[in-house]
Symmetry: none
Subunit: 191 residues, 4 copies
């Protein structure tokens, strides 16, 4: 049989990497970062402990990689058009999308909320909370400015908090949370 080309190797590598990250995300979300050991991840991902270190420099690096990928996926989903101005439809879409993400990426959200609460963990990261949230707030603020809301900055902050809060409550208890109803209500009130 022909030896594998380097691209093939690259693919395999990438697959393994994803496999590790997904496994780790599940465990981190379920049990917390500190309470998840490399051994558990390796066992669940069906690789050896040593191999982990072939893909990530350590546990922190793994966490960082998961986070970065998660945020990139989030950003790709949002940012509907690049003109930086939100129409009513786009805002609705944005809210819908946010709720959809909460559902699809529940594990990621869990991790996101859990780590958000630990500033000491954030210090290890290459990006800050503000970098991530600020653009969204700005978009909303502009939206409310255009709509003539009295204090658009505070309004945006409040809506931001609302979305965080819903996410927070939802991922903690997804089965009982009336996500659909809440979503409708949010759109009705704040778009």
């Amino acid at each position: 049989m022909a030896p594998k080309t380097s691209e093939q190797y690259g693919e395999i590598r990438e697959q393994r990497r994803q496999q590790i990250m997904n496994t780790a995300l599940q465990l981190f979300a379920a049990n917390g970062f500190s309470n998840t050991s490399i051994s558990q991840i390796a066992a669940k991902a069906k690789i050896s402990k040593g191999l982990m270190y072939n893909y990530f420099t350590g546990k922190d690096d793994l966490l960082q990689a998961i986070f970065e990928q998660g945020f990139n996926e989030m950003f790709e989903m949002f940012d509907p058009n690049k003109d930086g101005v939100l129409t009513k439809e786009e805002f609705t879409y944005f809210i819908e999308e946010t709720f959809k993400l909460m559902d699809d990426k529940r594990d990621f959200y869990k991790l996101y909320f859990a780590l958000m609460m630990q500033p000491s963990v954030w210090k290890k990261f290459r990006f800050s909370m503000n970098d991530i949230v600020a653009p969204f707030l700005k978009l909303m603020e502009d939206y409310y400015t255009k709509r003539g809301v009295k204090d658009p900055g505070t309004e945006a902050i409040m809506v931001g908090a609302l979305l965080d809060g819903i996410g927070f409550n939802f991922v903690y208890n997804p089965d009982l949370y009336p996500l659909e109803k809440v979503k409708k209500l949010v759109i009705e009130r704040f778009v």
Copy 2:
């Protein structure tokens, strides 16, 4: 010479207990439960590691004690009157009080949010999240019912999420968060 009376011992014990709990709360809030070691707590509280175990049966017990005390303090502050019906003034008072608590008990809120995200930790507890939150939601729902809001249950859930979200954002970044403005806006919109 006569030995210390049991009251004297009782006082000393209670003081030490509080000292340990306060120190631990600060560290838990700053660095997370798992990332805080008994050694750190002991060092910061200027006691020996061993003494901790004279007051708490272990790290979990310490956490539980902090939590119980925190919730008791919360409950005492709330519960405006016992008729179980919220007037407009009482609801305003409730919101104000919630925000005041967030400010006063910032460390406790941090811990509360952090642990809320780890169901596995909750299992150790004698009380569940629902026990705590449900009465508040019920009060709000009744309030909105009386005011003729269309879907009072969902409305209450949304406001609950909003307060969580604000708390969440505030305790994470208290210096820059415009808590006063947000508070005013919340009262304006939801009372």
Copy 3:
């Protein structure tokens, strides 16, 4: 009321001392020396931990005191007459007495056997196993010599082992062990 005389104090002290020793013996026998803490002893004896050190210099000293007392009680019971010669009746009496002791002082025997198995513990003691056992063996050897047994020294050693073994089995499972029957058989065969 008149102040206590020093004899009265002495009596109280002696009572307390006994109380501590008895409590400790029970716990040592039930759970082993290492697995019994000073706290447990103090709690069960209803005194403070500190007071223990008023009566014994430490845990080892307590053990030693228990042992010494136990052996003294044993010796007093034996050694029927001082001529150093065992008649048939005296030997029977000796065996009977041994069995009686096993039953009365079950806790002490447990401790005795348990510690006998740990030479490292014996090193702390002021007396050695041999000091204790040798005189008994000598008496028996003389007895068998007089009776014309072929190898009286070995015979004595064997009977010593037999008594140890019975004690060993009996204290381990006193409820089911047919002590009476075994006793009769031993006397029949070896006196």
Copy 4:
């Protein structure tokens, strides 16, 4: 290069396991279970403390493993033939074998006697003392029944105690104990 095959790993594991068990047995026998620390075992076995836990889940598991292996070796040595009936020669062989074992497996016997004295330790085990001893007693009882001894059950119990007692005395002081002579005497009297 290819990774080690699983057989190679298996061999290494088994060797290490034995090495740890042997070292631990020596220390347990010399100083007792409670007085032997994992650190001591690791130091004597020239491995790190952590490695122990790669082979045994904890100190108790290690003890259990040593015990099980010890008993299995014992059982293999005995059980002369499977008809369940003891001839005179077989009984002699059984006694001889018992004494030989006492000598060869002195450390194991020490541990066996030491732990026998602590029922609390036995509770952790998967087997009970009775399971182990009962078959031997039964064989002896049958033997004495056939020989027309008056009370064969008690006779067997007495001989069992005798063997225990000899083992007990011998392992405690092997250098001075006249094992050969005692053995001859036992066979002469009880076979």
